[in-house]
């Protein structure tokens, strides 16, 4: 396990404060930064759990054909071209021709044979070698196979029954749904499944059909006419005489079907490949679009893309002691063998981010500013809920985290940072005031530890040091919630004088300075009890 920082989305709770990080359920509220969105209207972070998702287009994942939404329903959400899925391993199938008959003239014209091939054609899986001839599906022509297969699908008794049910209930739907619409607010009024039927016809049939009783094609409960797998005597018989487990189709192979299907592996039919969709995403509260993909199915560009990574500073956490341990392991590979094994043994625990109880560890947080303006960042560790009950006190986190208490600057992002790498020494020229601030931060940190300070500043990245003190009897993970507050100048295109900004942001509240804060959870590693400094071999 490595150290990580995840960002909080408040969509699951009523309060803006995240749940304590030691609760297992809190992990559902925290997400990696790159999976989050940012709504500019609401000035809030949004996650995949709370955004409204709309389908903006369908495509086949195999032939990449963009299916117009009108034909999606008719083709039952599956590809209507020559894309099929192996029922055995879910790989895509390829159409192959039968072997040509061994005659002399086939030799003389190999070109004709290899382009068209000999009927019958069948579907073949490149991975598990399943072929459709096994289940008796062969084709005379290598084209239009999907239409032929869909005919099979539509002929299934369950499918016919469903069509019949739909036909029976469709005229009654508008009345029922408008009644529902009246009594339950929020349920949209239903306006007909099939647009082909005229509304007038619907209107006058409704009354009559309400009285008639639905008569099923197949009597409910009887397994007659339905495929096996519905629990009849035939299935019992089949299972009694089972010889190998692979004769029974696995659940994975059966549940992709719309209906209950046969238990026999030998009855599995090829599927047309289900379509995939491109999605656009909206903010749940203001309905503004956060993600809008381009029309083209395979394009990875977006017309609108408001992701949190472009608004919030990225935080990277590193553990110097774990890195040192990794370095030792690497170096040991060049040493003699006996020594190396001992060193690897000694350091593998630390390299995995494990921490000994009762010790103090430094850690580094690197802040990367994505904005074109410098930001002032201030950090707070979220304390546990104040314990009113003395018994509660024992349950406070078994470690104490120290972070620099003063605000620090992260420089603005400019396009040129990416070009030159390390040669930004002149950057530090006019920033003596900044460093004084950093030094004073160091001074007041001295009481707690020399590691709590600004460690490094280059380009749009500032690295700060923190320290975690682990109690003697601690166990579990070092994991804490951290509130990050940053202020930035929104409208000023000119870079503010960095030597002035710290005092300014503290003192006067200029209208163009905006503040945004968000919660993160920082996970540093596992606490190893003191009694056994080396991890058990597992």
């Amino acid at each position: 396990m490595t150290a990580s920082v995840q960002y909080y989305c408040p969509c699951l709770s009523a309060t803006p404060h995240p749940p304590p990080s030691n609760l297992a359920s809190s992990s559902y509220s925290f997400h990696p930064l790159h999976s989050l969105f940012f709504c500019e209207e609401c000035d809030a972070v949004r996650c995949n759990r709370c955004v409204l998702v709309e389908v903006s287009g369908y495509y086949c994942p195999n032939c990449l054909f963009e299916v117009p939404s009108a034909s999606v329903r008719a083709e039952k959400n599956r590809c209507a071209r020559n894309c099929f899925m192996c029922p055995n391993c879910q790989n895509t199938l390829s159409v192959v021709a039968s072997d040509p008959p061994d005659t002399e003239d086939s030799r003389s014209s190999p070109i004709v044979i290899s382009t068209v091939g000999e009927p019958p054609f069948f579907l073949y899986c490149n991975h598990c070698r399943w072929d459709s001839a096994e289940v008796g599906i062969t084709f005379e022509k290598p084209t239009g196979l999907a239409a032929q297969l869909q005919k099979f699908e539509d002929m299934a008794p369950e499918s016919l029954e469903f069509e019949r049910l739909k036909e029976y209930y469709e005229p009654q739907l508008p009345a029922a749904s408008s009644a529902l619409h009246r009594s339950v607010s929020g349920v949209p009024n239903f306006n007909g499944l099939s647009r082909s039927r005229s509304s007038r016809e619907k209107g006058h049939r409704t009354k009559k059909e309400e009285e008639s009783v639905y008569s099923a094609r197949v009597e409910a409960g009887s397994s007659k006419g339905l495929a096996s797998g519905s629990g009849g005597d035939a299935d019992v018989d089949f299972l009694k005489h089972l010889e190998t487990v692979s004769e029974v189709a696995a659940l994975e192979q059966r549940w992709v079907n719309s209906w209950t299907t046969s238990l026999h592996t030998s009855d599995l039919k090829p599927f047309r490949i289900p379509l995939h969709s491109k999605k656009s995403k909206r903010c749940p509260s203001c309905r503004h679009i956060l993600i809008k993909p381009e029309q083209k199915a395979q394009s990875v560009k977006y017309k609108i893309k408001l992701v949190a990574a472009n608004y919030l500073p990225a935080i990277n956490v590193t553990l110097p002691h774990a890195q040192a341990a990794i370095e030792m392991i690497k170096r040991s590979s060049t040493m003699n063998r006996q020594n190396a094994a001992a060193i690897v043994e000694e350091h593998s625990s630390a390299a995995a981010g494990n921490m000994l109880a009762g010790k103090t560890y430094p850690f580094h947080l690197a802040f990367t500013n994505p904005l074109y303006d410098p930001i002032q960042v201030r950090l707070h560790v979220q304390r546990a809920v104040p314990a009113s009950d003395p018994a509660e006190k024992t349950r406070r986190p078994p470690f104490a985290v120290t972070l620099p208490s003063s605000a620090f600057t992260v420089n603005a992002y400019t396009e040129t940072w990416g070009l030159e790498e390390e040669d930004d020494d002149d950057m530090f020229g006019g920033e003596d005031d900044e460093f004084d601030a950093a030094r004073s931060g160091q001074k007041d940190a001295k009481a707690r530890g020399r590691n709590v300070a600004i460690i490094e500043r280059r380009a749009n990245i500032t690295v700060i040091g923190g320290e975690v003190m682990i109690a003697k009897e601690a166990k579990g993970n070092v994991k804490f919630n951290m509130l990050v507050t940053y202020t930035y100048r929104s409208d000023d295109p000119e870079p503010t004088d960095p030597s002035l900004s710290p005092s300014k942001s503290k003192g006067s509240k200029a209208p163009e300075i905006k503040t945004f804060s968000f919660y993160t959870v920082v996970e540093l590693g596992k606490i190893v009890p003191r009694e056994e400094p080396k991890p058990e071999a597992d």
Binding site: N126, H127, C128, V300
Partner: protein
Amino acid sequence: MENPVYYSRAEYIETDTGNKVSRRATIAGPQNIILGGKTIIASGAIIRGDLRRTGPGHAVVISLGRYCLIGEGCVMRPPYKTYRGNFNYYPMKIGDHVHIGANSIVEAATIGNYVEIGKNCIIGKFTIIKDCAKIADNTVVPPNTVVPAMALFSGSPGRFVEDLPESTSEMIEAQTKGYYARFQPLPTER
């Protein structure tokens, strides 16, 4: 910040465009291979540029874009098939920002930009991998598979697992550029 990845200066050849090719990699038919620049070929990799299309003239067999990484022990081999009775090799085209993990075997026809392929994968013949796709470690992608854009594939046979986040291209770009920046010669030979 993350630690640099050091290599010994003697092992790697650096070209004018910033490609870093290990002397321990097997590059067959180098005249048929194009490297886009800032691409790393790690030690033990095998790139078969010699398996060219039959016929006269110059043929590009394998082309790699910028900021690619061919991991240790990878095998890159152009796909082949018998079409109309003729056996032939077909070119392999790989886009920018493509990382291929250690010990993977790649026989794909096309790999798009920002693609990440894990360790110990087998990418079957004529596979087409679109932009921003990801192949998890230990995946076997059967021949002729199409991996759509922004998809994560894993398992054997490789199957669609989930859609990747919208910011994948930026993430992969930062990752590949970061890796290239961190991949530097040992400052002093110890």
